[in-house]
Symmetry: C2
Subunit: 197 residues, 2 copies
């Protein structure tokens, strides 16, 4: 069916998004087509805007629309407090809790022998640079409570030992839990009860 | 955070799609931003194309990219056989089964006293016109096996009684089942074993 191929192509692209499959992609696309003037056209434009403007912060590795993100360039945020997270979704989860007023460093993943991901594949060298170059007093390791997350935290702690105060999120993070699944209250409790390493 | 607002706006739009919520929308958008050149930009363009070209078929109510859809204008499809479905997702499910070689009529929903949806809110008058004007020998009522679906089937059967041969999908459609959830084999069996009304 020649004319449906444009719609099919859209469904195929949507079906590849995390959390969607063929069936939910078909539902979503039909919904968008029914309301194409008020939903599909604005969504296309917003995607185009984000595709054009989104970039990784050269300093912390978060995403935003400028070379240095809003958090890194926000003079009101504490410069001495650096929170290390695995990915941007975790940074967003921390921000939703509203309790952290320092800055971030996004690793872009965890160390993994299995997937051959070493420190150089992550933003770990840049983290060490920042600790050496910025006036950082405390590094909070807010990695997920998974094996890879904790391995990565230990590796970073080893690298930074004696150079800066180190702490990790503690109380409230369940074993095997991932930050992005936690409610704001749990994150707040874990941050407030962080323990020195 | 001024610069993130474009990304937040995109997440908000995605979160409203059926099957997605705030968390899966955040995941999908981060995924798209990470691969913005190969995923986000093409997806934006495809959405723009579909928003510009998609339209409802003036004859059957399906969606395509021309005023008369590919099925309606396909000379190879049997003109005497008309399959009535609730919505486009059901038509697509029928097409995936590959067994039906006639044409369709998409109602756009079901009759519902509760939601004040009467025949005029659906494409029922147009269906009656088609049966009167086209050389249709049999109307297959392929409505969902829900109360509203069956109520709608009975209403249409009453309207068309004596004017055309009527049948409905039978064997294989589970009670309360919806076509779009069924596998192709079940749809094939139900169509082959359709019973006259
Ligand atoms: Zn930054
Ligand atoms: Zn049509």
């Amino acid at each position: 069916m020649a004319g449906r191929s444009e719609i099919d192509a859209l469904i195929e692209m949507m079906a590849k998004l995390p959390g969607l499959g063929p069936r939910s992609a078909r539902r979503a696309v039909l919904h968008l087509i029914r309301k194409r003037a008020v939903l599909l056209q604005p969504l296309a434009e917003q995607m185009e805007t984000v595709a054009r403007t989104a970039r990784e912060c050269l300093n912390c590795g978060s995403v935003g629309t400028s070379d240095i993100c809003e958090i890194c360039s926000d003079e009101a945020r504490a410069t001495g407090l650096l929170c290390v997270v695995e990915d941007v979704a975790d940074l967003w989860a921390m921000e939703r809790s509203g309790v952290f007023k320092g800055r971030y460093h996004v690793l872009g993943g965890t160390l993994s022998a299995l997937d051959a991901i070493g420190p150089e594949e992550l933003h770990i060298p840049k983290l060490l640079d920042r600790v050496a170059g910025e006036e950082i007093e405390e590094v909070i390791l807010a990695l997920n409570a998974t094996i890879d997350g904790q391995t990565t935290a230990h590796y970073i702690a080893d690298q930074l030992e004696g150079r800066v105060r180190l702490s990790s999120l503690a109380q409230g993070v369940p074993i095997g839990g991932e930050l992005d699944y936690l409610d704001d209250g749990t994150i707040t409790a874990a941050l407030n009860a962080r323990k020195s390493l």
